[in-house]
C-alpha cells in the first residue's frame, strides 16, 4: 500500500474533516456576527438617512415649485385685475371726459345764447329809447316848426291832442309797410 493510497483512504475529499468544519463555522460566524450585528445595521441607517435626505430634498423642491407656481398664479391674477381696473378707470375717465365736454359745450351754448339774448335786449332797449327820444324830438321840432308857421304856441294843445303822436305812428306804419 503506497502512501498515496493511505492518504486517499484517510482523507476522502468528500468526507468533511471535523477540525476544518469547526474552524470554518467559527470563522463564518465571526464574519456573520460582525456584519449582521454591527456593520450592516450601521450602513442601513446611513442608507436610510441618505434616502430620506434625497426624498426630503425632492419634497422640499416640489413644495418650493408649488409655491412659486401659486405665487405666479397670484401675480397673474393681480395683474389681470389691475389691467381690468385700469381699463375700467380709463373708460370711466373717457365717459366722464365726454360728459364734461358735452356739459361745457351746452354751457357755452347757453352762455352764448344768453349773451346774444342780452345783446338783442340791449339793442331793443336802445332802439326803443332812441325811438322814444326821436319821437319826442321830432314832435318837439314839428311843434316848434308848426308854431313858427302858425305863429302861436301850439305846444300845449298839440301835446294834449296827440296829433303829433298819431302822425308819427302813421309814419312808422308806413315805414314798416314799405320795408
Amino acid at each position: 500500500m503506497t502512501l498515496l493510497q493511505i492518504a486517499a483512504e484517510a482523507e476522502n475529499p468528500l468526507v468533511p474533516p471535523l477540525p476544518e468544519l469547526v474552524i470554518g463555522l467559527v470563522a463564518f460566524f465571526i464574519v456573520f456576527g460582525f456584519l449582521g450585528k454591527v456593520l450592516l445595521p450601521r450602513i442601513n441607517k446611513v442608507l436610510e438617512q441618505r434616502h430620506e435626505a434625497i426624498e426630503g430634498g425632492m419634497e422640499k423642491a416640489e413644495a418650493a415649485q408649488a409655491e412659486a407656481e401659486a405665487t405666479l398664479e397670484q401675480y397673474r391674477q393681480q395683474l389681470a385685475e389691475a389691467r381690468h381696473e385700469a381699463n375700467r378707470l380709463r373708460q370711466e375717465a373717457q365717459e366722464q371726459g365726454a360728459a364734461l365736454i358735452a356739459e361745457m359745450r351746452s354751457e357755452g351754448q347757453r352762455q352764448r345764447e344768453e349773451i346774444i339774448a342780452a345783446g338783442h335786449a340791449q339793442i331793443e332797449a336802445d332802439r326803443k329809447q332812441a325811438a322814444l327820444a326821436l319821437r319826442q324830438d321830432v314832435g318837439k321840432l314839428a311843434t316848434e316848426l308848426a308854431a313858427k308857421l302858425v305863429g302861436e304856441s301850439l305846444e300845449e294843445h298839440a301835446r294834449q291832442s296827440r296829433v303829433i303822436d298819431r302822425f308819427l305812428d302813421e309814419l312808422e306804419e308806413k315805414a314798416e309797410a314799405t320795408r
Binding site: 502512501l3 492518504a7 476544518e20 470563522a27 463564518f28 464574519v31 460582525f34 456593520l39 450592516l40
Partner: protein
C-alpha cells in the same frame, strides 16, 4: 515520484529529461502538514486561510462601514456597491424586499466569506482555495439548510412543513407514493449535498487545473521541453483569469441558491 502526501507538488525539484517522473498533482495536493499543533488539534494552511478570510472580510467592512457617512468616501462607496449587489441583486430579487430583508446579513456574509476563501487560490504564497476542502462549504451549506428547515417548520407548522418537504399537492393521487419519497430525499438530503459539492468541486477542479499547468510548466523547463513549458505557462495565466471569474461566480451561485431555498420556506405551498 512524489508520492509523499505531506509534500506540495511544487517542492519537488525535478525536471523532464533528468530521469524523474512527472510529479502529478492529485489528492495529495489537498493535504497539508499541520503548521502547528495545540493539544492534538492540528492547525493547517486551509484553516489559516479561513481565519485570514474572516479577518479580510471583517477588516474591509469595518474600514468601509464602521463610521458610515451620508456622503460616502471611496471605501464606503465600494462597500456599498458590494452590499447592494447581494442585497438587491440577490436577496430582494429572489425573496422580495419585505421578506428578504431579514436574511440580507446572512447572504452578504456568505457571499463575501466564500468569495475571499475562493480568492486565495490565485493569491501568491496562499495559492489555495479554502473551499476546495469540503468541510468549509459543507459547514456553510449546513447553515443554509438549517435556516431553511427551521423557517419551514416555523411558517407552516409540523404538518405543513412535512407536506412542504414531500412536495405535497392536491390531486397527486397515486403518484404521491412516488413523489413523496423522491421529493423528501431531494429536498432534505440531496439538496444540501449538491449545494456543498457544487462549490467544493468547482474550486477543487480549478485548483487541480492550475496545479497541473504550474507543475507542468516547472517540470518541462529543461532542454527542448522549454517550448512545452511556455505553453503551460500561458495556460497558467489564462486559467488564473478564468479562476478569478469562477471564484466570484461560484460565490454568487451559492448565495443565489441559498436565497432560493430560504424563499421556498417563505413562499411554501
Amino acid at each position: 515520484m512524489s508520492a509523499d502526501p505531506q509534500m506540495l507538488a511544487f517542492e519537488t525539484n525535478c525536471h523532464i529529461f533528468s530521469g524523474c517522473g512527472f510529479p502529478s498533482p492529485g489528492l495529495n495536493s489537498f493535504i497539508f502538514k499541520p503548521l502547528f499543533t495545540v493539544g492534538g488539534f492540528h492547525f493547517n494552511k486551509p484553516m489559516l486561510l479561513a481565519v485570514l478570510s474572516t479577518i479580510v472580510v471583517v477588516g474591509f467592512f469595518w474600514a468601509a462601514f464602521a463610521k458610515p457617512k451620508v456622503l460616502p468616501g471611496k471605501l464606503q462607496m465600494v462597500g456599498e456597491a458590494g452590499y447592494d449587489f447581494v442585497r438587491r441583486g440577490v436577496v430582494h430579487e429572489t425573496m422580495g424586499r419585505k421578506e428578504g430583508e431579514k436574511f440580507v446579513p446572512l447572504m452578504v456574509s456568505l457571499f463575501f466569506f466564500i468569495w475571499i476563501m475562493n480568492l486565495w487560490a490565485i493569491i501568491p504564497i496562499a495559492q489555495f482555495p479554502v473551499t476546495s476542502i469540503i468541510a468549509f462549504p459543507a459547514g456553510l451549506a449546513a447553515i443554509v439548510w438549517l435556516t431553511w428547515v427551521t423557517l419551514t417548520f416555523k411558517r407552516h407548522g409540523f404538518v405543513g412543513a412535512v407536506k412542504s418537504f414531500c412536495g405535497y399537492q392536491k390531486g397527486l393521487g397515486a403518484v404521491a407514493f412516488l413523489v413523496f419519497p423522491l421529493e423528501f430525499l431531494s429536498n432534505l438530503i440531496i439538496r444540501p449535498f449538491t449545494h456543498t459539492v457544487r462549490l467544493f468541486a468547482n474550486m477543487f477542479a480549478g485548483h487541480l487545473l492550475l496545479l497541473i499547468f504550474t507543475v507542468g510548466a516547472w517540470y518541462t523547463l529543461n532542454g527542448i521541453g522549454i517550448a512545452y513549458s511556455a505553453v503551460a505557462f500561458v495556460m497558467v495565466v489564462v486559467l488564473t483569469l478564468f479562476e478569478l471569474f469562477i471564484q466570484a461566480l461560484q460565490a454568487y451561485v451559492f448565495v443565489v441558491l441559498a436565497s432560493d431555498y430560504v424563499r421556498g420556506a417563505i413562499a411554501g405551498h
